[in-house]
């Protein structure tokens, strides 16, 4: 929607200014900026930080390259968003550094009881281990009925928190996970 037109507009604007007035710094910056996002794929997204909900455009490259992973090269404010009209704050403007970051976790890790370090673990082993722990804890702590014989189907020895950084859809699935298991201790960031 927005990308092609804006790019064409910028190119046209740069050309006109340069022809009419000779070298102009604004025109050069526009071109330099344009080079940064030339040939990128553009995806509409929303800033993950505070709840103003600024629209962002994520620029990526590498989608059409064999043997390469697509990567984020630039993130900027979405000019079509009535909330931010293309602007971002000092945190939002550096969102690319959040996504493309050498501190990101890239593989599952395990810390055994009493151990002083992390060790790598495969996804399959990690999921199996978690499922086993959940089942053992649940088998021990699940209450089908309370002391008065009322059906309660509850589990209060296993806690679950999160969701505030995640989408509604993931929160909905987390709810199904929670109520399927019967988990009562549950929180998100709303009160912290």
């Amino acid at each position: 929607m927005l990308p092609v037109n804006r790019r064409q507009f910028l190119q046209a604007g740069a050309a006109v200014t340069a022809t009419a007035f000779g070298f102009r710094l604004e025109a050069a910056s526009a071109v330099a900026r344009e080079l940064k996002i030339a040939r990128t794929n553009q995806v509409q997204s929303v800033c993950p930080y505070c709840a103003v909900g600024c629209g962002v455009v994520i620029h990526t490259t590498g989608e059409r390259v064999k043997n390469a992973r697509p990567t984020v090269v630039h993130i900027e404010g979405d000019p079509d968003s009535p909330v931010n009209r293309g602007t971002l704050c000092s945190k939002g403007i550096s969102l690319k550094e959040f996504v493309v970051n050498d501190r990101r976790l890239t593989k599952p890790q395990y810390r055994a009881a009493g151990s002083g370090e992390w060790t790598d673990i495969s996804w399959d082993d990690a999921i199996q281990k978690i499922a086993r722990r959940i089942k053992d804890t649940r088998d021990k702590g699940f209450q089908e009925q309370d002391a008065q014989g009322r059906t309660v189907n509850r589990l209060d020895t296993l806690g679950l928190i999160g969701g505030c950084t995640d989408t509604n859809e993931i929160n909905y699935l987390l709810g199904k996970f929670r109520f399927g298991l019967g988990i009562l201790p549950y929180e998100n960031q709303a009160r912290l």
């Binding site: 930080y49 970051n101 009322r150 296993l158 969701g163 009562l184 929180e187 960031q189 009160r191």
Partner: protein, 793 residues
């Protein structure tokens, strides 16, 4: 927010209290500046710290942390006693005319019904006086001494400007200046907004604080109008959405989680569906059976039948008075009553109160699963002694911690689809731009894989609670990697007879013929498609509503309670401030918060409430039907209104071996925690630019206190509370003025939150200092206004 970010530009007076949008919501704050520029709006900032919002405000008033109810109560008194209320609004749209029972009373800090032993209230005397038909009795003249208006007038008559000054530490003159500006909106043609954030919620009386703000806005006739409302700015991208999707005591869509005494669906619905309290009340929550039954159909599919109460028994039940919110379950974890814990994108070691207690609690678990973008203090809690260096010297060696930890790498926002809800209640759809790094996976796949693996184990081995586990519907095309579009359609709901997406919650039924995962989101993904992804730029009202951009809950309504922007006859209070208008046959403009074709007199303006009108007075909160000033749980002074009921009598304070409360003789200063523009919570210490711009933890001290202690800017200081200590360089400023409270000079100490022992930059966790004291209604910890001492190192 009742209103929204863009709408703030419509205001005449913006009161910012308990928030600092210039620094913490800078892009949203543009709309305050726009109102100042275009409408000559006034900005008032009331805060213990002269922050950057204060710097551009028309009036700044300093106040002591934790005394906001006294200030707002003073504003209520000021508005009533100076005849500045919007009385036509109050008469038409609030419960001011309702009569209370004769045995309702308040004295010495307690309302009638107080049980000192149980530390709770019997609320019988708080109820309205009812007539034979079960409706509340009213006095439209508001003159009956038992009317809520007269009771409110009497209750807040104690909150004089002088009393406010005595409690809050501001001057009576400054209070009156603020009151005159704020109350200038108490008439048609002028409208004021309130913007707040965690400075209002981080208290042991936070819900009542927001209640007081809402009361003030009702008295001034500012609820439901463009440029008005009471607006929570909210801290996380989807904190609104995750709350919409449930809480410890809630199902999706603010349906209550059943309790053990709700032994059948019928009993549950009887207990949770309100009855109208006035003949003209629409009482929209009367539709609770439709929303609940449709949720059960979404959860349990074909297994949910009328004969089995639509699977109601499979839902877990809370005990009758049980509380499973943060403070309570971490206390249980600390007492070794919990064995396993799963954290999806949260960091309790950093963000929970009393860090050492968090660490000890996690060490008492058998196992912990953390799903994250970055390593966190929680994932590496067992290594706190090494990573946290001097801050956790007492903490034990990893060899003694028997908790197994599994850390799973998750996709970040840019790597998955789905919707976030911003503070304006706009559901905005985003698309995945790139795959996650390495072999990290999106959270929905992680949830699905764990859930399917647990089920497989039960299928193989059998075990407890098989039925509820297996009954939960998980019929996605790819059960291990559900598409979020598929999930979003399930959330919106569909007609099970035709298979079509429902157009909105009005189509939901209680007979099992509709399924809907969250009724307040019904309308977000209809037969017309994904409304959350809409990009329409039109703004037909000119009020910044943008009805075709994204989708706003409920029903794409942009301003809640907008019927109240018109008088009883359906005429706008002012031509410039009505988002809906009655044209004789229907309401036009914003989606009306009212039946679209019902005449102005058909229903009360507040259709969600059983009263049909907004409430000054409510029986739903723990510590009273009217808000009352209580001191923080740790306070430098006794309550000036009733020293024998000083702090909130109903607020829970935990008493584990790791918990302790301080007294002013040892900890004389009032501490507040705050945030910096350059950082987001505990995330951006991993991001290079945030880490470079604000690399170091610091402690902000007032000049006068620093002078008293011989501390200069940059000197190392230790801040201690009854729970723990933090150390760092002092930043000496004039931003937190010494305040005189009850004849004593009170100093504040300000501490930013963003560091921890894992990150590109590291520093102490401020929650080393904070108490496990909570609001009794919401369970929010008291992070603003606790006691500390300061020493030069």
């Amino acid at each position: 927010m009742t209103n929204g970010w863009c709408d703030i530009a419509n205001t005449d007076v913006a009161l910012v209290m308990g928030g600092n949008p210039a620094e913490n919501h800078p892009v949203g704050f543009r709309f305050v500046m726009e109102a100042k520029r275009k409408r000559k709006a006034k900005l008032i900032c009331i805060d213990p710290r002269f922050n950057r919002t204060a710097a551009v405000s028309d009036l700044y008033v300093p106040m002591r942390a934790g005394t906001d109810i006294a200030f707002l109560g003073g504003l209520i008194h000021y508005a009533i006693s100076n005849d500045l209320c919007h009385m036509d609004y109050v008469r038409a749209h609030t419960n001011a005319p309702f009569l209370l029972r004769e045995d309702f009373s308040f004295s010495e800090g307690h309302f009638s019904g107080w049980d000192a032993e149980k530390k709770s209230y019997d609320k019988a005397t708080w109820q309205y006086e009812l007539d034979g038909a079960g409706y509340a009795k009213v006095d439209p003249t508001l003159e009956n001494p038992r009317s809520i208006f007269q009771q409110m007038k009497r209750h807040y008559s104690r909150y004089t400007a002088e009393k406010v000054a005595e409690i809050c530490g501001c001057t009576a003159e400054d209070f009156k200046k603020a009151a005159a500006l704020i109350c200038s909106t108490g008439r048609a043609g002028k409208v004021g907004t309130i913007l707040y954030a965690l400075g209002w919620t981080h208290h042991s009386h936070s819900v009542q604080l927001i209640h007081t703000g809402a009361m003030l806005q009702l008295l001034l006739g500012n609820i439901g109008l463009p440029g008005g409302g009471i607006n929570a700015q909210r801290g996380h991208a989807n904190i609104q959405g995750s709350t919409d999707m449930g809480a410890w005591n809630m199902l999706p869509g603010y349906l209550r989680l059943p309790r053990a005494n709700h032994v059948s669906l019928d009993a549950y619905l009887k207990a949770t569906t309100p009855k109208p309290l006035r003949p003209n009340s629409m009482n929209y929550w009367g539709n609770t059976p439709k929303f609940a039954t449709s949720l059960l159909k979404a959860y349990y599919g074909d297994r949910a039948k009328k004969e089995n109460d639509f699977g109601y028994q499979w839902l877990p039940k809370l005990g009758e008075t049980e509380n499973q919110s943060w403070g309570y379950f971490f206390d249980r974890m600390h007492r070794k009553e919990m064995h396993g814990f799963i954290s999806f994108g949260m960091n309790p070691v950093a963000n929970g109160p009393n860090t050492e207690k968090m660490l000890e609690a996690l060490a008492n678990l058998d196992w912990l699963v953390v799903v994250e973008n970055f390593e966190t203090e929680t994932a590496s809690f067992w290594n706190a002694k090494k990573l946290g260096e001097k801050f956790y010297p007492k903490y034990v060696d990893p060899a003694k911690i028997q908790t197994e930890v599994i850390l799973l790498p998750a996709a970040c926002f840019a790597e998955k689809d789905g919707s976030f809800v911003n503070s304006s209640r706009w559901l905005q759809w985003k698309k995945a731009a790139v795959p996650p790094p390495g072999i990290a996976k999106p959270d929905h796949e992680i949830i699905a894989r764990i859930f399917m693996a647990v089920r497989a184990l039960y299928e193989k081995e059998g075990g407890k609670g098989m039925e509820p586990l297996m009954a939960m519907q998980w019929n996605y095309a790819q059960p291990l990697t559900p598409s979020l579009e598929e999930v979003a359609r399930e959330v919106n709901g569909r007609d099970l007879t035709t298979g079509a997406q429902v157009p909105g919650f009005a189509a939901l039924k209680d007979d099992g013929s509709t399924a809907c995962g969250n009724w307040v989101y019904s309308g977000s993904w209809t037969e017309a498609g994904n409304n959350m992804a809409r990009r329409g730029q039109e703004d037909p009202t000119g009020l910044g509503l943008f009805p075709n951009y994204a989708w706003s809950w409920p029903a794409n309504r942009r301003i809640l309670y907008n019927r109240a922007s018109n008088d009883a006859d359906g005429k706008p209070w002012s031509e410039s401030h009505a988002s809906i208008r009655w044209n004789g046959t229907k309401w036009t403009g914003d989606t009306p918060d009212y039946k679209a074709d019902a005449g102005p007199h058909d229903y009360g303006a507040f259709i969600m409430l059983p009263e049909g009108v907004a409430k000054f007075y409510t029986t739903e909160l723990a510590e009273g039907p009217f808000p009352e000033h209580y001191e923080p749980m740790e306070s430098p002074v006794k309550n000036a209104l009733h020293p024998n009921a000083s702090a909130n009598p109903c607020a829970p304070v935990m008493t584990s071996s790791a918990d302790a409360m301080g007294t002013p003789d040892k900890y004389p200063y009032v501490a507040i925690t705050y945030r910096l523009t350059e950082h987001f919570h505990y995330w951006t210490k991993h991001v290079a630019s945030g880490a470079e711009l604000q690399s170091n933890f610091f402690v902000e001290l007032p000049e006068a206190l620093a002078k008293e202690k011989g501390i200069k800017g940059g000197d190392a200081v230790r801040v201690s509370s009854a729970r723990g200590t933090v150390e760092g360089p002092a930043m000496v400023t004039q931003r937190m003025r010494p305040l005189t409270v009850g004849g004593k000079t009170i100093y504040h100490v300000g501490i930013p939150i963003h560091w921890g022992y894992v990150g590109r930059v590291r520093g102490p966790l401020v929650n080393n200092l904070t108490p496990s004291a909570f609001d009794p209604n919401s369970g929010t910890p008291e992070y603003k206004g606790f006691l500390v001492n300061v020493e030069k190192l």
